[in-house]
């Protein structure tokens, strides 16, 4: 990370350029890191839901309802990361 910061500073013509470049790089990291956690969470959630549906097919409707809400809640974390990204990058 420090090496990347030094690289940015070396390539930037002015401190303002360096600041903008660092903000863009940080925004990219923020978005990428924010997407990893929900990805793992959704994978785990859907995997467990499939297990539950296989064990108890008669409860599949209830499991799918809960799974859909779980996916949506988990995705909210990624959306928060995305909003931080657009505010850092474009605002």
């Amino acid at each position: 990370m420090e090496a990347i910061a030094k690289l940015i500073m070396a390539d930037a013509a002015t401190p303002a350029d360096a600041k903008n470049a660092a903000a863009a790089a940080s925004a990219g990291y923020a978005y990428g890191l924010a997407a990893i956690g929900p990805g793992i969470g959704i994978g785990y959630l859907v995997g467990k839901s499939v297990e539950a549906m296989a064990r108890q097919p008669e409860a599949a409707g209830m499991v799918r309802t809960t799974m859909f809400l779980g996916i949506a809640f988990t995705e909210a974390l990624a959306l928060i990361g995305f909003v931080v990204f657009i505010l850092l990058k474009f605002a």
């Binding site: 297990e51 309802t65 996916i71 990624a78």
Partner: protein, 159 residues
Amino acid sequence: MKKYVLRRPGGPLVNEKLSPLAMAAQGQAPEVTVSKDIIRRGLIAAPIVMLVSGVIWGLTGAWSAGIGLALVLLNFGLAALLISWAAPISLALMMGVSLFGYLLRLGLISLAVYLVRDASWISLPALGVTIIVSHLGLLFWEMRFIAASLAFPGLRPNA
């Protein structure tokens, strides 16, 4: 070779060697019902969200809130459609569609925001706040009814 089958009390025959991923979900798609409920409530709340955003950020805020809410509702609708399409085919496909659908939907939201980011009628803080607040708000609103209907299936409350 002897083939082992299991029978649950009162249930169908279950092959012991059948992978859960080879099974498919049967019956109606609850995601579509949930998603329709969320979209209906989102459309009801849209004027209020746009008004509040307009008061805080002005006319650009109102337009941005509308775009943000539309993105959230499309996201819910697309998620429900993808899962309800894949689940009756196989649970393995449903897993794949859930994960790659997540990436696809994030990509679509990013693309939509990227396309409108420089428009003069867009306020990015208003758009971002609307996306987060409306996504979580609509989910909590829906969850209130889902929780009640799961606990008391015969007594689904009115919206």
